[in-house]
């Protein structure tokens, strides 16, 4: 199906992300990876998992916004992506109405 998407009209979007910007992002990503790994060696009990997930969310937002150009996409894609994530969040959290109280 990816091929299909390739045969659309000529691309309209003009934004080209600069190399420097991409380089800055990858540096940030590597630094964040370093941080989570480092934090995992420190025993924080309950907080380990939330911190790891928080860092992961930052990393994924960076990938989404810059590598995947989400920052420069239209509103429709932004909203729909957010709703997808919201749906995923609902799936995971609503399970806990059950498993947490069983």
């Amino acid at each position: 199906m990816e091929k299909e998407a390739g045969t659309g009209q000529p691309e309209e979007r003009m934004h080209v992300t600069g190399y420097r910007e991409l380089l800055a992002i990858i540096m940030a990503l590597l630094a964040l990876t370093g941080i989570t790994v480092a934090v995992s060696y420190v025993h924080l009990g309950f907080f380990n998992v939330p911190i790891a997930l928080f860092v992961a969310s930052i990393k994924s937002s960076l990938v989404l916004l810059f590598f995947m150009h989400l920052k420069y996409e239209g509103r429709a894609i932004k909203i729909s992506l957010l709703s997808t994530i919201a749906f995923l969040f609902v799936m995971i959290s609503f399970i806990f109405w059950d498993v947490a109280f069983r």
């Binding site: 691309e11 190399y19 790994v37 994924s60 590598f67």
Partner: protein, 185 residues
């Protein structure tokens, strides 16, 4: 393409639902099993994927600016990164399997149930992720060929763009898989 990515996100989402529920049920066993995974290898793989993601993004910039040769080498590099990732994964799986840790193995059956679930999820999620790496590599290869034949060029780059999006998604999923499996304590 984005719409297709959403469905991929939800596909993995189903597995993360299971992960969340079981993590809630067996926090101790999960932490214990997580320690058996090699954090260094996991980090190495994370770095490899992140860098390959960067090179894919850069190759799109390159093609948009008309730097065909640079784009070609960047994509080749990304594909090689993917291959390295899979090789590392292969040895990692191999090591666990030699230790007798694989689905339905005696070691897991006799151990605590949480460990079995943890490794079950580990194999399913990383396996599915590996499959996606392979698909992503295929897509990148197709883009590579298209750049060579000139079907992908500075005006028509959406094939590469979509292959890139897919590759970033693979990266994105790994960003969550990594802490959930390698860093739970």
């Amino acid at each position: 393409m984005w719409l297709f990515l959403y469905s991929e996100i939800i596909l993995f989402g189903g597995l993360f639902v299971l992960y969340a529920a079981y993590f809630h049920e067996y926090p101790k066993n999960f932490a214990e099993s997580g320690r058996e995974l090699n954090r260094i290898i996991g980090s190495l793989n994370t770095v490899i994927l992140l860098i390959s993601s960067f090179t894919v993004a850069a190759s799109l910039t390159a093609i948009q600016r008309g730097a065909k040769r640079l784009a070609l080498s960047l994509i080749t590099f990304s594909i090689l990164c993917g291959a390295t990732f899979l090789t590392i994964k292969y040895f990692e799986w191999g090591k666990h399997i030699r230790e007798g840790v694989y689905p339905n193995s005696q070691v897991l059956q006799n151990g605590p149930p949480g460990n079995n679930i943890f490794f079950g999820l580990y194999y399913v999620i990383t396996g599915l992720h590996g499959l996606h790496v392979i698909i992503g590599m295929t897509l990148l290869t197709i883009s590579l060929v298209f750049i060579l034949t000139g079907r992908v060029n500075e005006r028509h780059f959406s094939m590469l763009e979509n292959a890139g999006l897919y590759w970033h998604l693979v990266d994105l999923i790994w960003i969550f898989v990594f802490p959930l499996f390698y860093l739970v304590l």
